[in-house]
């Protein structure tokens, strides 16, 4: 790859700027020095070149200050292997950002192929160097502590992080485990595992632990049993002691009671409550005696009352007659009560009757029938109501009939003249709708015009036979894309393979040359040659011994010297032979690589030929020349497809217009046919206009017709209603006639009846009251006669004189009632006195019986008892006292015996022997307390042991610890394996690095030494490698033979050594894959002129095979470049 021109179109401060890199003349190094002061944009230009090659970095852009990031564009003209010169551009889009000169996206493969798959970082590492990189590279060499393989490899490939990577791996292993390491994973996790193990062991209920717990539980249970027995014995002795004490006390008490009982009467113990019983009996006898005396006094008093109230014999007949009079009634009330007012009431009722008759006559006159019997005019209340209702209905029916008749007449007057029915326009409307839908054809005409224009535009750049090409069938876009992609890839691969083949051929030639050189070296002789020279010498010696001539002597001399020389060379040529062997190996390796590259190149040639044939066929199918490049296929295929689509669109548009015209004609004919029956035709003007007018008026005509029909129906309904009212009127009039047929009234029309109704209602009321009053007067007269008859009977019973009856019957009746009442009172008093007398006699008899029974009970109470000389109360008191003493004695005996019950007999006997003993109780209490304490202690121990045993089974399972333990073991397994992998990996990698260094040492060292010595001569003459225990170290050798390790060199010298390593790396890459532009940014600031000159010459060597670009702001370096590099191009930074 070569950079011909860098276009800073919109980038940083630049707009439309370009930096040209003039092409070298034949035999002139391709070196360009870009000169510009500080801030001239050298870094901007370098960054723009990188972004052109690899795309814009994401995120905020450091050079997007004049233009937005989205507007940034860089470009370049590149000479690409296998592609030739290409102008490319790059914008900041995420995809399809690489463009050609016409801003069309192109494949990234164009650049990635030329860059041999390098990433941006690796490209920067390999093909650019600035002052900072130079300084840090030198420091890296010094700080790398002598791993030459790594150093050389770093210089060669840029893998400067390899040592750090391996260190990181080793560190990872050390983190897991390191001898005597304190914070390692293994130590930390191991400590935790030990802790978990201890906890688990302590927690685990093993057989042995269970056995121990069980033994402890059983032992404490046995101890508890023993202590419990002791406690029980202490309790028994204390009980025995208490019993003995009771026994002793009660025995003394019994003796005293026996002595006291001697002075009391003999006899058995009284029954319980005997004293109370005797007192009760004595009290009872006294009370019964008092009752007998009171009964005798009461009997005398009642006999006197009986004699004071004798029997009256007239009471019964008087009572019977009074009851008969009380039973008589008038109007539902007792006759006696009404008789006193009947006479006065009778006169008043007769006057009221006369007044009513007079009022009835007045009403009959008002009705104009004074002579008619009142019973024929006075109507019942229900008849009167029916008559009033019939009159009202009759009047209402007459009014309704009149109103209905008037409504019919009004409706007929409003209806007006009859209308004509409108015609049906449905068919005409449908035909008109169809015609209107197809009336407009302007859109179709416009569509046809547009399609024609598009076709013309689409076929503008196509050959005349484009239709034939389309008809023959176009290749698929995928096929074309695949061919284009394959072609581009193949071209890039071919160029790469060509370069590779050249490099391999050069490498083979170089290896062969080296081999020839080594083979030509005299000290490269091998053992076969020495044997051959020895055999030759011996053979000539034999010949010489036989002939002994000067000629044979000379031959022998030559052979002898040759043999001696060969042997001398052989003895001193071990190193040369090694070099020869290495050279032979390199030739074999180079030959094999050349063969592989050649084979790969041939394969690609075959593929290219095959692809070219396929491209030719596709080009012809697309109407292109046979040798058209595949990248043009896609555009032509797209143009042909577009043209075909445009032609199809035009055909469709023409066909659509034609169809629309046909439809329009048919619709017009149908409209004419539909309008003809209605009298509308083309002769009367524009047909559609006429039709539209007729359709518009249709709606209003149809509404007027419907309204007239509706009025007609309404009149018919009103007429029917009028007839119905008349019929109802006649029916109601008939009903009224039937109701008034019997009435002797002069006017029986509805209005006459309505006027007579109030008088008829008044007559009905007066007539009813008159009837009720007549019945009442008759009842009063009957009551007065019955009362007089009763009074006469009572007077006869009581022997009263006859004439008194005429004076007042009521007084006779009252006198009779008074006599009956007095007789009844006397009967009651007499009966009560007799009852009380009988009751008193009965009480007296019972009291006498009770007193006799009391005397007998008293004698029973004292049966077999002494003390007969005492009154009952004193006697029983004495006996009760005797019995109390006897009971005390029995209780003491019982207590004494009870205290002994349940007490151990032996212990009791022992304790009784000790009685009396005042301290014995306290002594035994202390012994009991001691036994209790011992038992409690044993019980607690037994419970604790039982609890521990039980809880050992019930304890929470420490599965959390077991799980953590297992997990930690898993982690440790994994960690151990990773640590082992890391350690073994580092071990293998370090060994491999040493091998790599050994493989590449000779060629690399030579290149490094050549570049380093060129720059630093005469201060340094060589570069060598020291092997040390910790690895290998690069050293510089000075003219006096002294060696200086890298870390002891000056910073500038270290930088130059690093520059030498990078140049060697560049050479190696260029040799294998082909050159890329090498960009150096002011790296010679710290070089003196001599070394700068040398460095510039080395740049010239880069330019001999590749392209070197140097940025600088030092004018003297520009001048030095002019002096040192033949034909160097000097370019100023653009403004």
């Amino acid at each position: 790859m070569r950079l011909n021109r860098l276009d800073l179109l919109r980038y940083g401060r630049f707009k439309g700027a370009e930096i040209a890199f003039p092409k070298r003349a034949e035999g002139v190094p391709d070196v360009t020095v870009i000169f510009g002061p500080n801030e001239a944009g050298k870094s901007t230009a370098f960054n723009g070149f990188l972004e052109l090659l690899f795309g814009f970095k994401s995120g905020a852009h450091p050079y997007a200050f004049r233009f937005d990031r989205s507007d940034l564009v860089v470009g370049a003209e590149l000479d690409l292997p296998g592609r030739g010169i290409m102008a490319l551009r790059r914008n900041s889009k995420r995809t399809q950002s690489l463009l050609d000169a016409n801003d069309r996206p192109v494949s990234e493969a164009i650049l990635s192929g030329a860059l041999h798959g390098l990433t941006r970082d690796r490209f920067e590492e390999r093909f650019s160097l600035n002052e900072k990189g130079l300084r840090e590279g030198g420091e890296r060499i010094a700080g790398a502590q002598g791993d030459l393989g790594q150093l050389l490899h770093a210089g060669l490939s840029g893998l400067t992080g390899m040592a750090q990577t391996l260190d990181a791996l080793a560190e990872r292993a050390d983190k897991f485990h390191k001898k005597r390491g304190r914070g390692t994973v293994l130590k930390t996790v191991g400590d935790r595992l030990k802790e978990i193990g201890r906890e688990l062991r302590a927690d685990r209920l093993t057989t042995e632990r269970e056995r121990n717990l069980r033994h402890e539980r059983d032992r404490t249970a046995a101890e508890f049993e023993a202590a419990d027995v002791e406690l029980r014995q202490a309790h028994q002795r204390q009980a025995a002691s208490k019993a003995a004490e009771v026994w002793y006390d009660r025995t003394e008490e019994i003796g005293k009671l026996t002595e006291a009982l001697v002075d009391f009467p003999a006899g058995p113990d009284l029954p319980p409550s005997a004293a109370e019983r005797v007192a009760g009996i004595v009290e009872k006898i006294s009370a019964q005696t008092m009752r007998i005396e009171e009964a005798e006094e009461e009997t005398v008093k009642q006999d006197q009352i009986i004699s004071d109230n004798p029997v009256d014999k007239l009471t019964q007949p008087l009572t019977a007659e009074l009851e008969r009079l009380d039973a008589l009634a008038i109007d539902g009330a007792p006759l006696i009560g009404r008789a006193s007012t009947a006479r006065a009431d009778l006169a008043r009722r007769s006057e009221d009757q006369e007044k009513l008759s007079s009022q009835i006559d007045s009403v009959l006159r008002l009705l104009q029938v004074p002579d008619a019997p009142v019973s024929t005019v006075a109507l019942e209340a229900s008849v009167l109501e029916d008559l009033a209702a019939a009159v009202q209905e009759c009047l209402t029916a007459n009014l309704s009939a009149d109103a209905a008749r008037e409504a019919v007449e009004t409706a007929r007057a409003q209806q007006g003249e009859a209308l004509t029915e409108p015609q049906d326009l449905t068919a005409l409307r449908a035909a008109f709708d169809v015609w209107r839908a197809v009336a407009d054809i302007s859109a179709f005409e416009a569509g046809q015009g547009q399609a024609l224009a598009l076709l013309t535009k689409a076929t503008a750049g196509l050959p005349r036979s484009w239709k034939d090409l389309v008809a023959a069938g176009l290749p698929a876009p995928e096929t074309l894309n695949e061919v284009a992609r394959n072609s581009a890839t193949l071209t890039a691969d071919l160029a790469s393979a060509g370069n590779d083949l050249d490099a391999r051929a050069a490498e083979l030639a170089e290896a062969r040359a080296v081999l020839s050189t080594h083979e030509a070296a005299p000290d490269a002789v091998d053992v076969v040659t020495t044997e051959e020279t020895r055999r030759q010498r011996d053979m000539v010696w034999q010949l010489h011994r036989g002939d002994l001539t000067i000629e044979t002597a000379d031959q022998f001399e030559v052979a002898m010297y040759a043999d001696d020389g060969a042997r001398a060379h052989y003895l001193s040529g071990a190193e040369a032979r090694q070099r020869l062997l290495a050279a032979q190996g390199q030739v074999r390796t180079a030959a094999a690589r050349h063969e592989i590259a050649k084979s790969h190149y041939d394969d690609l040639i075959t593929q290219r030929d095959r692809l070219a044939g396929r491209c030719s066929r596709l080009a012809l199918a697309l109407g292109l020349e046979e040798d058209t490049i595949p990248s043009a296929f896609s555009a032509r295929q797209k143009a042909l497809t577009t043209a075909a689509e445009a032609a199809a669109d035009l055909s469709n548009a023409e066909e659509a217009l034609k169809v629309r015209l046909t439809h329009q004609e048919a619709a017009r004919d149908a409209l004419t046919d539909a309008a003809r029956p209605l009298g509308i035709g083309p002769a009367q003007g524009d047909l559609p206009t006429q039709v539209q007018r007729a359709l518009t008026l249709e709606e209003s005509d149809r509404k007027a017709w419907a309204k007239w029909q509706e009025g007609k129906k309404t009149i018919a309904k009103l007429y029917d209603k009028s007839n119905q009212c008349r019929t109802d009127c006649e029916t109601i009039q008939g009903k009224l006639d039937r109701l008034t047929a019997a009435l002797p009234l002069l006017d029986r029309t509805p209005e006459g009846i309505r006027a007579a109704l109030p008088h008829l209602r008044s007559l009905h009321q007066l007539y009813d009251e008159h009837q009720k009053l007549s019945a009442r007067i008759e009842a009063l007269e009957q009551a007065i006669a019955a009362l007089a008859e009763g009074a006469q009977r009572l007077a006869r019973i009581m022997d009263d004189p006859e004439n008194e009856i005429d004076i007042d019957p009521i007084q006779v009746i009252d006198r009779a009632r008074s006599r009956v009442m007095l007789a009844t009172r006397a009967d009651e008093k007499r009966a009560e006195a007799m009852l009380r007398r009988d009751k008193t006699e009965s009480l007296k008899s019972r009291a006498e019986t009770e007193r006799q029974a009391g005397n007998e009970d008293l004698n029973d109470c004292f049966t077999e008892q002494g003390g007969q000389d005492l009154v009952p109360r004193d006697r029983v008191a004495k006996l009760v006292e005797r019995d109390r003493l006897r009971a005390d004695k029995a209780t003491a005996g019982h207590d004494r015996q009870k205290a002994r019950d349940g007490v151990d007999a032996d212990l009791f006997a022992e304790e009784l022997d000790r009685m009396p003993d005042a301290t014995r109780a306290a002594e035994l209490e202390q012994a009991l307390k001691d036994a209790q304490d011992s038992r409690d202690t044993a019980r607690d121990a037994q419970r604790e042991a039982a609890r521990l045993y039980r809880e050992a089974f019930e304890a929470a399972d420490r599965s959390d610890l077991a799980t953590e333990q297992a997990t930690l073991f898993e982690e440790m397994r994994s960690g151990a394996r990773q640590a082992a992998v890391a350690r073994l990996g580092v071990l293998a990698a370090r060994g491999a690095l040493r091998r790599l260094a050994a493989e590449r040492r000779s060629g690399m060292l030579r290149d490094v030494e050549e570049a380093f010595v060129t720059m630093t001569t005469p201060a340094w003459t060589s570069v060598d490698v020291w092997s040390q225990a910790e690895g290998e170290k690069l050293v510089g050798i000075q003219p006096d033979g002294s060696t200086v390790p890298v870390e002891q060199m000056s910073t500038g010298t270290m930088g130059q050594l690093y520059f030498a390593l990078r140049l060697a790396g560049y050479r190696s890459f260029a040799r294998e894959l082909g050159p890329l532009p090498m960009i150096l940014d002011d790296i010679m600031e710290t070089f003196d002129d001599t070394r700068a000159r040398a460095a510039l010459q080395l740049c010239g060597e880069i330019g001999a095979n590749g392209q070197a670009i140097l940025f600088t702001h030092h004018a003297h370096l520009v001048e030095l470049a002019r002096d040192c590099i033949k034909g160097v191009a000097i370019v100023n930074m653009p403004d």
């Binding site: 893998l159 293994l186 685990r204 073991f969 440790m972 350690r983 990996g985 690095l993």
Partner: protein
């Protein structure tokens, strides 16, 4: 007659996976073996089986705790009270089942041994032998009783059969001899991956470990229901374990950015979900840029939003393809280095140093026999690390 067959419960033996470093998961699964055994009892009761058969290794020698025995008795008593008797034998991990040392297990729990090799339940006779030694080199089969006439005969045996990878030989016995003994059904234990063998009317069932404890037991997690009818016994496996193990392969070498890596991880981890059961996943990742630690961190981040899936382990390997010229040379030279005697000696020395520093329980991880595999991993690791560091 229906039987629920299980074996190799290993009560108290924890799950061994780094996934349990997650506190929630660790807490949930810390009693996984016990919880799974409770589920077995629940299943036996809900299915109303006629007997529960346990073919040895109820306990685990590594966790000898009488609390486990108390737990076993409580659970089997629960089954017994629900009308499900248990028939069991000892395995090579069942010192806690020694009836002479610890007594009987309880009513309706029948431990078969030389003194009582047979028990009849319904119309079936169960035969089994329990041996005391942890390692038995000879076959138990000749000591088994002959089939009881007129009964369906069920044998219980703890055996490695003809041998099984990952399992110590224990009471080896050929399958052919076993099936020819005359029993209708063999309920076996010792091998943790389940399988069944059918030979005419005879069925042999290895129910597998009901709760897998590590990735190597990922085929377990089952019990087997057997129906003993008129014809050949029928069987049905049931998944029972709380946590399963699975492995997934994932190629991240084509992922261009971290978002794509996260998406790929999410897809593959979602595919590992099993409804109603937790899964610990071992990821085999192919990548030339992503190391194990990074992938582990990213996977943990993804798993925050995926229920029921945990990470057991991540293994990374570079793709077997394009390496840079330098790295390629380095790998080639490393492989050359491996065959050097001096290198091998140095490698063994480093390995031994590390091995001796490990607790004895895991020393086998770095056995000398595994050196070649470790070296292969080492080359892959260096290649991956260098490539990641230079790309």
């Amino acid at each position: 007659m229906r039987l629920l067959v299980s074996a190799d419960i290993h009560l108290g033996s924890p799950i061994r996976s780094v996934a349990l470093r997650n506190p929630d998961l660790g807490d949930r699964l810390k009693q996984a073996s016990r919880d799974t055994f409770s589920k077995i009892i629940d299943l036996a009761i809900s299915e109303q089986v006629d007997a529960l058969v346990l073919a040895g290794d109820i306990f685990d020698n590594g966790y000898p705790d009488l609390k486990s025995r108390a737990f076993l008795i409580a659970q089997l008593s629960r089954a017994s009270e629900a009308g499900v008797p248990t028939v069991l034998i000892r395995g090579n991990h069942d010192a806690l089942l020694d009836h002479r040392a610890h007594g009987d297990l309880g009513p309706n729990i029948h431990l078969l041994h030389k003194g009582a090799p047979t028990v009849e339940i319904g119309d079936a006779a169960f035969h089994g032998l329990s041996f005391d030694a942890a390692h038995v080199a000879k076959s138990f089969l000749p000591d088994y009783p002959r089939p009881a006439p007129g009964k369906r005969n069920v044998g219980l045996m703890h055996t490695s059969l003809d041998g099984a990878p990952g399992h110590d030989p224990y009471a080896p016995c050929t399958e052919r001899e076993l099936m020819a003994h005359g029993f209708d059904l063999w309920c076996l234990g010792h091998i943790h991956a389940p399988f069944e063998r059918v030979d005419g009317p005879v069925l042999a069932v290895m129910p597998g470990i009901p709760q897998p404890r590590h990735f190597g037991e990922r085929n377990g997690g089952t019990v087997t229901l057997v129906s003993l009818g008129e014809g050949a016994p029928e069987f049905e496996r049931r998944v029972i374990g709380h946590l399963g193990f699975s492995e997934c392969s994932l190629d991240l070498s084509t992922c261009s950015d971290q978002q794509e890596v996260l998406r790929s991880l999410r897809d593959v981890l979602l595919s590992a979900q099993v409804p109603g059961r937790g899964m610990a996943v071992r990821l085999h990742v192919t990548s030339d840029r992503h190391g194990m630690e990074l992938v582990t961190e990213l996977a943990a981040e993804v798993l925050d939003s995926i229920d029921g899936v945990s990470l057991d382990k991540v293994k990374c390997a570079p793709p077997p393809r394009k390496l840079g010229a330098e790295t390629e040379d380095l790998v080639r030279l490393m492989q050359d280095e491996l065959v050097e005697d001096g290198f091998r000696q140095a490698a063994l020395q480093q390995l031994e140093e590390l091995r001796l520093a490990l607790p004895s329980e895991i020393m086998d991880e770095l056995d000398e026999d595994g050196l070649d595999a470790l070296l292969e991993e080492a080359i892959a690791e260096v290649s991956l690390t260098l490539h990641a560091g230079t790309s």
